[in-house]
């Protein structure tokens, strides 16, 4: 009896579950939980705040002293949000529709454009290959915010101002996406491709039937990165779009918050409801695809 109890205990104190990537609980992990649990709680605080405020009735939003958690949850903020028109008369459903359409097109286009480029940079042989990949790697260090002005001038001269495509095209130039995909495709053995070539497969067929199915984890990662860039983008609507009905949900949310210096509390519930609608798709997609993301990130090294 005692021996068996000791055995039970040694499972959690012995060497088996110590160290990296353990398969179960071990006493040596307690110290990490002690640090990580309070820290995660702190990190979660703003998100708890958004969720809770989105469901707060007005009297709780105005309550003093303010309480973090909602006591009588209501959907009033959401119904208000959807019945509300922006100052120029555009209903929120329009912003939501724009955001969904733009994000869907951007994600789909980005997956194909980036993977095609990455395939060429990884598996094709051509003279400028090294140089082009080096340029893309330097572009990882590119800070778009630094060149807002020249970008504006170029978009203006291309006639893309107030054009639907301006939501999509700049987001597709995503060096980190091509970089991650290229590193991932490097892991596919050349034999596979050579075998297909001997069978007479064209490049397009190799890309479509061999490369794409083998890199789905990396594609999922690029999809997430592009999704975040497109869905969360308020800047493009602010800078390049003048027609209110062509703007995105993220932009609309920014108008709800930028005026809150006057009614910091009044618009709070509605803004929180909009923020929650912005946040939930991000969260769901990441949860669904997290396994793929982690396997892509293992190839992310920069040498």
């Amino acid at each position: 009896m005692i021996a068996r109890r000791r055995e039970w205990w040694s499972q959690y104190t012995g060497l088996r579950n110590r160290g990296m990537n353990p398969s179960g609980f071990h006493v040596s992990q307690i110290k990490f939980y002690v640090i990580l649990i309070p820290l995660s709680a702190l990190m979660l605080l703003p998100i708890v705040y958004i969720i809770s405020s989105a469901f707060k009735p007005p009297d709780e939003l105005f309550a003093f002293p303010p309480r973090l958690l909602v006591t009588n949850p209501t959907l009033k903020n959401f119904t208000d949000l959807f019945s509300l028109l922006s100052t120029s008369g555009v209903p929120i459903s329009r912003y939501l529709f724009n955001s969904i359409l733009i994000t869907a097109i951007t994600v789909a286009a980005s997956v194909f454009i980036s993977s095609a480029a990455a395939y060429a940079l990884s598996k094709k042989k051509f003279r400028l290959k090294q140089a082009l990949f080096a340029i893309n790697t330097i572009a990882l260090m590119f800070v778009p915010i630094a060149v807002t002005i020249p970008r504006f001038l170029i978009i203006e001269s291309l006639g893309l101002l107030d054009n639907f495509w301006v939501h999509i095209l700049p987001v597709l130039a995503l060096p980190v996406g091509v970089f991650l995909l290229k590193q991932f495709i490097d892991g596919i053995p050349d034999d596979v491709i050579e075998a297909a070539q001997i069978d007479g497969a064209s490049d397009l067929r190799i890309y479509w039937r061999i490369i794409l199915p083998m890199i789905t984890p990396a594609l999922a990662t690029i999809a997430i990165l592009t999704f975040q860039a497109a869905w969360n983008n308020a800047e493009i609507s602010t800078l390049y779009i003048n027609t209110e009905s062509q703007r995105t949900l993220a932009f609309y949310l920014s108008t709800l918050t930028s005026t809150t210096t006057v009614n910091a509390v009044a618009g709070q519930g509605i803004a929180a409801a909009a923020a929650l609608i912005m946040f939930v798709p991000n969260l769901l997609i990441f949860i669904i695809l997290q396994r793929q993301v982690m396997s892509t990130m293992a190839h992310s090294g920069l040498k």
Partner: protein, 323 residues
Amino acid sequence: MGTSTIAQEQVAQERARTGWPGFGSALRDWFNREGSAYAFLAPYSLLFIIFIIIPVAAAILLSFTFFDAVQPPRFVGLDNYIALITQDDTFMRYVLPNTIQFAVIVGPGGYALAFLLAWMLAQLPRLPRTIFALILYSPSMTAAVAMAVVWKTLFSGDQTGYLNSFLLTLGVITEPVQWLQSPQYLMTIMIIVTLWSSMGIGFLAMLAGILEISPELYEAAAIDGMNSRLQEIFFITIPSMRPQMLFGAVMAIVGTFQAGAIGVVLSGSNPTPQYAGQLIVNHIEDYGFLRYEMGYAAAISVVLLLMVLFFSRLATRLFGGGS
């Protein structure tokens, strides 16, 4: 080199066969060999050139001009750069020190934090690790505009603000503090907010990197008598995942400079109150979009890009090379 000699041979053969200097066929050869590679690259390259290369080139060119967006740019040589160093009092007194303070704390600080958290997470079983990683990453997937909602009410200046209310009930302060409007607090809040959202893809890459390291390395080291965790980190973990460390570092540097707009978002004004939260990015916006001195703003942009490049090179020195 091998391919080019083969190509030359092919051209020579073609010439011998047709007796015609085969420019057309050399082009066709080239197209057969490399054409499809460029076809695959074309859509991305085009967008890359339009939205990254040309803007950077334009920024560099504009930085040597005076340009007010009304009249065509006028070449002024290095005047903008000289003015930036010698005459721009705001830049030297506030923007540069602020940027350095912000970058030094948020960059290396956020990076070290990301590594430590990844290191801790790697030593937990799969399920709790995934949950913690998701929580730590969640601020990075939240839109900046959504976060503005939170921070503004959290740090709201009247007594209904959460922080004020909390500190008032604790008795730490006796009257509400204008957190986001006070020069002495704005920078601290900016740093906290940015650190909070700094567990991005660099963090995920480092976590994946740590998990990829073969357990045999640790076992071998333990047999050789290595017994401290710190030794393990510095002699096994970090050297085995240099590429991910470098990727994480570059992402941290870019993120730090990209995050520069936060001060304006929080305080709701550019310039920020008494320039307390004014970073180089806001200075660019101030001159470019508010004063329409585009040439001067472009010069500041170039300085910013050079700063990012410099720090990335530094990181490459640290983690690059050996693999």
